[in-house]
């Protein structure tokens, strides 16, 4: 029983670690990218290049995780171009795959949030001397309600994702087994009670992260 709960703790911890890392990296990429797309569009109008970039982002919303997993599997496999990194069947490889899945979502939601900040506010920042990154940072802070929603949605996708982590991680006990892949395993074995317990733990982890993000989001906003 003690052993079991320790393994459980390790699985939940790895779930949290993989989802938080991939969401963190995806946010570092996606939030500036979303802000860039929104600010560019506003400054220069709807150029074809911007429309194509947006089309790619929104299309990747619908990327099946198993497909992302397969692509990353090929990339990371021994003969693949990134095989030398030795990331296949490691948490690092799982994070890699999830970044691919989560970044478009964070980008898209951040784009919408930044685009919805009033033009007058953006111009006010410019008239006070903000340019480039300072301007983008200001607008991101103004849009923090939606930008943090982008992080929440991204984390939700990451922690609940199973296809990519299963393919790239391999569901190796004590190494790459996470809550979702453990649920699949237990369900397959007919251990429904365990599967449901794991599911509840997953929800509890998601709820904890939501509370933290919600606190940050609402601080000094209302």
């Amino acid at each position: 029983m003690v052993e079991l709960s320790q393994e459980l703790l390790q699985i939940a911890g790895l779930s949290l670690y993989v989802a938080a890392s991939s969401t963190g990296i995806a946010s570092l990429l996606g939030i500036p990218l979303g802000a860039f797309l929104a600010l560019r569009e506003e400054a220069r109008g709807r150029r074809p290049a911007l429309t194509i970039a947006k089309a790619i982002v929104f299309t990747l919303y619908g990327m099946p995780p198993v497909l992302a997993g397969l692509l990353v599997y090929i990339l990371l496999s021994k003969e693949g171009p990134l095989g030398a990194l030795g990331l296949l069947f490691t948490p690092g490889g799982m994070i890699f795959a999830q970044v691919l899945i989560v970044t478009p979502i964070v980008t898209g939601v951040a784009y919408s949030a930044v685009a919805s900040v009033g033009r007058d506010v953006k111009e006010a920042a410019r008239t006070l001397g903000a340019r480039g990154w300072a301007l983008a940072a200001t607008v991101i802070v103004e849009a923090r309600l939606g930008v943090i929603t982008a992080i929440m949605v991204g984390f939700g996708r990451a922690i609940s994702e199973v296809g990519a982590v299963l393919i790239v991680g391999g569901n190796i006990r004590g190494a790459t087994r996470v809550l979702t892949t453990a649920i699949v395993l237990e369900t397959g074995r007919g251990n429904f009670t365990e599967a449901i317990a794991l599911g509840l733990i997953l929800l509890a982890v998601a709820f904890g992260i939501f509370l933290v993000l919600y606190w940050v989001q609402q601080r000094g906003y209302r």
């Binding site: 007058d120 111009e123 006070l128 103004e142 000094g220």
Partner: protein, 240 residues
């Protein structure tokens, strides 16, 4: 600290509509200049071009000896207060400190300058208030303080007291006059309130039909203008 503004043949169209059709304007250093004209005459468009927020389609804009400034001086040399107050979703203090932070000034200097700027617009006690909860008049005072705290040599005010109650109008006009007295900055104030133009400015000009019809010192402009259309405008006979 002297900045002049020179516009020559400035044109600007939106789609097929030519809003500015060859505007010539000279604002002298340290002058307070009122730009008046009916709604839709292109006053905002002109001010945005002077500020460098937009570029002209044709013609030349020279601010402080620099041609077609393209917003390079915004925030340091040139300040702009817009008609609708657009505050950041931050505290009043953080709004006014915004431009100073961008300049990377030390915290104590920022604190001192922001406090002084808030005092001047009667917002000393609102320093920790959330700016987005303020009344329109208070929010516009934040916007004025936010621009003035940067000590721009050229201050552009776009109908910045329109829709405000008399107490706020008078407070803001007082703040403009005080700013001018302290800094000798060049000020261009766009207004459709002719009384405001008289109270605040030394010279005035009428923008109409895409052109600057007439400029004169306020006394002449309001009592004895040369141009027929200026005469009609200041008498309130112009339909708009």
């Amino acid at each position: 600290m002297t900045v002049s503004v020179r516009l020559r043949g400035v044109q600007k169209s939106f789609g097929a509509k030519r809003v500015l059709d060859g505007v010539d304007l000279a604002v002298e250093p340290q002058e307070v200049f009122a730009l008046v004209g009916p709604s839709g005459a292109g006053k905002t468009t002109l001010l945005r071009i002077v500020a460098g927020l937009d570029g002209p389609d044709a013609g030349e804009v020279v601010v402080d000896g620099t041609a077609n400034p393209r917003s390079s001086g915004l925030g340091r040399e040139v300040g702009l207060v817009m008609q609708r107050p657009a505050v950041f979703r931050r505290t009043v203090f953080d709004n006014v400190a915004y431009g100073l932070h961008l300049q990377g000034l030390p915290e104590e200097e920022i604190d001192r300058r922001v406090s002084a700027a808030l005092d001047r617009v009667g917002l000393r006690d609102a320093r920790d208030a959330k700016a987005w909860t303020l009344s329109a008049g208070e929010a516009q005072r934040v916007c004025f303080a936010r621009a003035a705290v940067l000590r721009p040599k050229l201050l552009l005010l776009d109908e910045f007291t329109a829709n405000l109650d008399p107490a706020n109008v008078s407070l803001l006009e007082g703040a403009v006059t005080a700013y001018h007295r302290e800094t000798q900055a060049t000020i261009v104030i766009v207004t459709h309130n002719l009384f405001q133009a008289k109270r605040v400015a030394r010279r005035a000009g009428l923008l109409l039909g895409g052109k600057l019809v007439e400029t004169a010192d306020v006394e002449t402009f309001f009592t004895n203008p040369r141009n027929e259309r200026t005469r009609a405008f200041v008498r309130g006979e112009m339909p708009y």
